[in-house]
Symmetry: C2
Subunit: 362 residues, 2 copies
DNA sequence: GCTAGGATTGAGACCGGACTCACAGCGGGG
DNA sequence: CCCCGCTGTGAGTCCGGTCTCAATCCTAGC
């Protein structure tokens, strides 16, 4: 503790100016590369800056340009590989365009999201990418727009906002995949999601998540074409932790007229569902068919490999960042990119036992 | 485009002060909750602030407090669940302590890391958490310390720095797990890692990653106890993309005296290794035993479930954030937390074919 | 030789808070 | 009754850049 300089001040333009024997204004011009500066001055200033290893204070710069070159990203959970990958897409594009990313995790909690938005607003980020915890409760997102800050939604849409949403439209894919299951002979298809609702699912219920709404819409359409219906018996929401997912899985598989196929709304749910199936001593796809949303490398390694609905998650993040940065820079919005999901048939969907055994009769 | 106010200015203390009919200084005091303010003034100011929905500009505040309440996190790849989970640990703790996180991805590229550090330094973050791409090339990290900013290392140590490193000491666990493989009868154990080196591995080689160094150290110790050695034949580094991992896997399994056990250095490598094994028509653990570093939920779902070396990744991130924040706040460092890895024996390690068949003779 | 007009240059305002300093008002002790 | 000291208060500086504005230089054109 010899030289305890209490607050070692950084080298500033003024210091550089003094060293170069020019005015602060001239030094700033030379360093900032604007205005008119003679070669002589420029050289002296740059040399002095080098000598003092001057680095501009971005904070100060942000303060009077009003631009922080930072974007705020608010997601439910980066631990979830879905968001991990999307975040990677965002940061890759952001970095390329010279933007930094402040990441806030909300745990899918609305209050935390409201808070996150406020914090980022206070920090004067240049724009927002939000994966809204709720598609309905969007007051805080409106506040972003009132503050005239660019906002792009990720993964889910939100009501009452005039904001671009970079998400895969799942309605069609949900329809297709349900038809695929129906085509394999399934009539009892369970859908398990973590989305929170006030009570059990009833047909036509308004949900907080546009993603789930779309999925159920597509699924319902396919079912109705076969004279079937979405019911609270098989559409199981509020699947919170691993234990509740396990319970729900047991319920739908052990009920009198059990599900013969289970659709997991994301990879985290899938893990618990599959474990529950294994615990029941059932095998996929002989006893139960299984389908999940999102594709990750490990789904190819299970036995059997899993049939999944793949989403271009990385691209979605990248597209969101691109769209946001265009907005920030005042360029006109690019046409919405194609973000199509696809059904990847591997080995976890087969014919239901009952149908395989029974005489097909209608 | 009716009211195109070109740059809608934010409400400032001055505005509030005017509305409350007090001086800027008084308004600042009332809002900032410092200094002496009469009840009357305080009330008027707070009411005016509320009325105008005043929000302090954190940028401005940061500028003269010198604190940004932001920490910079530099990792190799958030897409990798290992870092995803660690990042979650970091952000959880940071949020609780009122800090935000700027996340930069380096793709394990040193130049990108150097750049990231510079950017964060320019942004005047309060502290750094870095998972260094190189344990040897640390000039940029030293610069952080020269700038008197707190720095904590994540996952890996780095030379020439007086910085706390929050990482699991893998030497012992590598030793233990190798003994476990040896105990099962394996004599040819391959180790596959993505770490980049100038040439093939030779015993005693200095590596860029303290993590890998530790693993090989522990592994080597166990091998030598059995009269065996680490060799470039079975220690395979530079396993870059999926294709090269696949090639390497084929090589070690198809060589004249092939590996009977393969250790994958992380989960991403593991995926490609297992696929390669499956492609060769070999089965785990009958034909090849398999062990990987890091434990993720999906490892329980493969057939067989994978034997892994689990690390408390979330805790590591949380501990790093805690340590950093203590430093930032000038509190004395907490004792280093226990971050122990553990060997989780599931089903991917068995006896090697040769030994199972042959008469054990020594 | 003189002047218009562009190139240079320095002083200083400004961004939006935090904070120093000088000063007024007021109550109590000597 | 006077001085001391504490609370309240406003003016103004500072943080570290950007940027405006007016002054000065310089050179070509007449």
């Amino acid at each position: 503790m010899s030289s305890n300089s209490p607050r070692r001040r950084d080298v500033t333009v003024a210091d550089v100016a003094k060293a170069a024997q020019v005015s602060k204004a001239q030094a700033a011009r030379a360093l900032g590369n604007y205005g008119a500066v003679s070669d002589d001055v420029r050289e002296r200033v740059l040399a002095a800056a080098e000598e003092l290893s001057y680095r501009p204070n971005e904070l100060a710069r942000s303060m009077n340009t009003g631009k922080s070159h930072t974007i705020g990203v608010v997601v439910g959970d980066i631990e979830n590989p879905h968001f991990g990958l999307a975040t990677r897409g965002i940061t890759d594009i952001a970095k390329k365009a010279g933007f930094n990313v402040i990441l806030i995790n909300t745990d899918e909690d609305l209050a935390a999201e409201v808070d996150a938005v406020q914090v980022l607003l206070d920090k004067r980020v240049d724009g927002f990418i939000v994966a809204p915890a709720s598609s309905l409760n969007t007051g805080h997102l409106q506040r972003i727009q009132e503050a005239r800050r660019p906002l792009v939604l990720l993964d889910r849409a939100a009501e009452g906002l005039d904001a671009q949403a970079l998400a895969v439209d799942m309605t069609d894919m949900a329809y297709e995949s349900t038809r695929y299951l129906l085509g394999a002979g399934h009539r009892r298809i369970a859908f398990i999601s973590t989305i929170k609702t006030d009570g059990p699912y009833v047909d036509g219920m308004v949900l907080d998540s546009s993603q789930i709404t779309e999925r159920l819409e597509g699924m319902g359409r396919a079912l109705r074409e076969e004279g079937l219906e979405l019911s609270g018996e098989l559409v199981r929401l509020n699947a919170g932790d691993a234990a509740s997912i396990r319970n729900i899985t047991r319920e739908v598989l052990l009920m009198p007229d059990p599900a013969t196929a289970v659709v997991a709304s994301d990879s985290l749910i899938a893990l618990s569902v599959i474990e529950a199936i294994q615990e029941l001593g059932l095998s996929i796809p002989d006893d139960v068919s299984f389908l999940m949303y999102d594709d990750f490398a490990w789904t190819r390694l299970t036995t059997p490999p899993l049939t999944v609905i793949a989403q271009p998650v990385y691209d979605m993040g990248a597209a969101a960042a691109n769209a946001l940065i265009r907005q920030i820079e005042g360029r006109k919005p690019a046409p919405a990119p194609e973000l199509a999901a696809s059904l990847i048939k591997r080995g976890s969907v087969g014919a239901p036992r009952a149908v395989a055994a029974a005489v097909p009769e209608g």
